[in-house]
């Protein structure tokens, strides 16, 4: 972690400085804090209701958040940022993984970038929207086909370890993904999503 990252990792803005988004104190906070503590300072994402609490926490920690138009664009932005010396995490919903594949396969992997990717899962157990199911079912096989390890968090107790783990791998030059299982959100929140 460089000096800037170390300084930012300990920073917490007053609540009033936070942008919009639900503030929570559960696993989403643990996840955001683990990413920050591990050295990530920049985050690129396409808005997703399930990711909102994580993003809200990142904002309170003073992180640079870039909400872009599409997942492929997020990956490309992060790749450029990283080749200029940054450590950037991409967050997306599983439905967006298909959009991101060209940039992952033709930019991130051949250029040897270690990019942490956080994927909010849809289309798994309990999914009520059939349109989400094929991509949810294919997410792990697609990542595996690209040689990207995926680590699924099903329990809040796993979140911190996996989040810090994918950043550690990124710092070693290895791209990996953290999957946020629908069970993690709990039955009451399973139906929500973008």
């Amino acid at each position: 972690m460089d000096q800037d990252a170390a300084e930012i990792a300990t920073r917490e803005l007053p609540a009033a400085a936070a942008a919009t988004g639900p503030l929570v104190s559960g696993w989403e906070t643990d996840l955001a804090d683990a990413l920050v503590r591990s050295g990530c300072t920049t985050f690129a994402l396409v808005p997703d209701k399930r990711l909102d609490p994580i993003v809200a926490r990142l904002r309170t920690r003073g992180m640079l958040i870039r909400s872009l138009a599409q997942e492929e664009e997020c990956v490309a932005y992060a790749a450029g940022h990283m080749m200029a010396g940054g450590l950037t995490t991409v967050l997306m919903q599983s439905s967006g993984l298909g959009n991101a594949l060209n940039a992952i396969a033709s930019l991130v992997l051949p250029y040897g970038l270690g990019m942490p990717i956080v994927i909010s899962m849809r289309g798994t157990i309990g999914e009520r929207n059939p349109a989400q199911v094929p991509m949810g079912r294919a997410t792990v096989p697609i990542l595996t086909a690209l040689g990207i390890q995926a680590f699924t968090a099903r329990d809040p107790a796993q979140v911190e370890t996996i989040a810090s783990g994918i950043v550690a791998m990124a710092q070693a030059g290895v791209t990996s993904a953290m999957l946020l299982d629908q069970e993690l959100a709990g039955p009451a929140r399973r139906e929500s999503g973008r």
């Binding site: 640079l64 870039r66 664009e73 450029g80 200029a84 010396g85 950037t88 940039a103 250029y111």
Partner: protein, 189 residues
């Protein structure tokens, strides 16, 4: 104006900038014009050069970042114009090499050749201009408010001799060293 003349005009005008070149002819032209300089050349990921340049620009500000993209490339990732406008980096220019064709894949015509100058200028937070000569292009690099899109109209086809196929590790290594040199310069009294 051909793509090599356009690329050289920009390089000569701002040799201090960091350059990002999209896959294909833009990469061939920049490799040729800069004698394989330490720039970020894309070997694939069509449509991703402009957002990557945005990421670079945010990280290296205030150093100027210039992206070279074809019109087919930017058509595939035109959404990024709005993202650039949202972020508003005042150190980013996108130069569109506009010939109405997919040059890299055999020169096929783009069905509806896109124009970028006017749409870019219409987006709040972004500016745009169309130029058709190396001199006008060089002036636009200095004078167009940033972030901005310069549409360089190409009316002569040439095939730059350098290969568009790059070694990603060599590209990344050289580019990162160039970025690091910027940071070292910034810390010198």
């Amino acid at each position: 104006m051909n793509i090599l003349e356009a690329t050289r005009a920009v390089l000569d005008q701002r040799p201090d900038a960091l350059f990002v070149a999209a896959l294909g002819t833009a990469t061939s032209a920049l490799r040729t014009a800069s004698n394989d300089g330490p720039h970020l050349y894309f070997g694939g990921a069509m449509g991703s050069a402009a957002p990557a340049a945005l990421g670079v620009a945010e990280r290296v500000a205030p150093r100027l970042v210039i992206a070279f993209v074809g019109d087919g490339e930017l058509l595939m990732g035109a959404r990024t114009l709005w993202s650039i406008a949202g972020v508003r980096p005042d150190n980013l220019l996108v130069v569109v090499m506009a010939d109405g064709r997919y040059s890299m894949t055999g020169g096929q015509r783009i069905e509806a050749p896109p124009v970028f100058a006017e749409p870019a200028a219409a987006i709040p937070g972004l500016d745009g201009i169309r130029v058709s000569s190396p001199g006008a292009l060089a002036r636009a690099v200095d004078e167009l408010p940033r972030p901005g899109v310069i549409e360089a109209v190409l009316d002569e086809r040439v095939v730059p001799p350098a290969s568009p196929f790059v070694d990603p590790y060599r590209v990344r290594s050289a580019f990162e060293a160039e970025v690091a040199r910027t940071r070292l310069d910034a810390t010198r009294p």
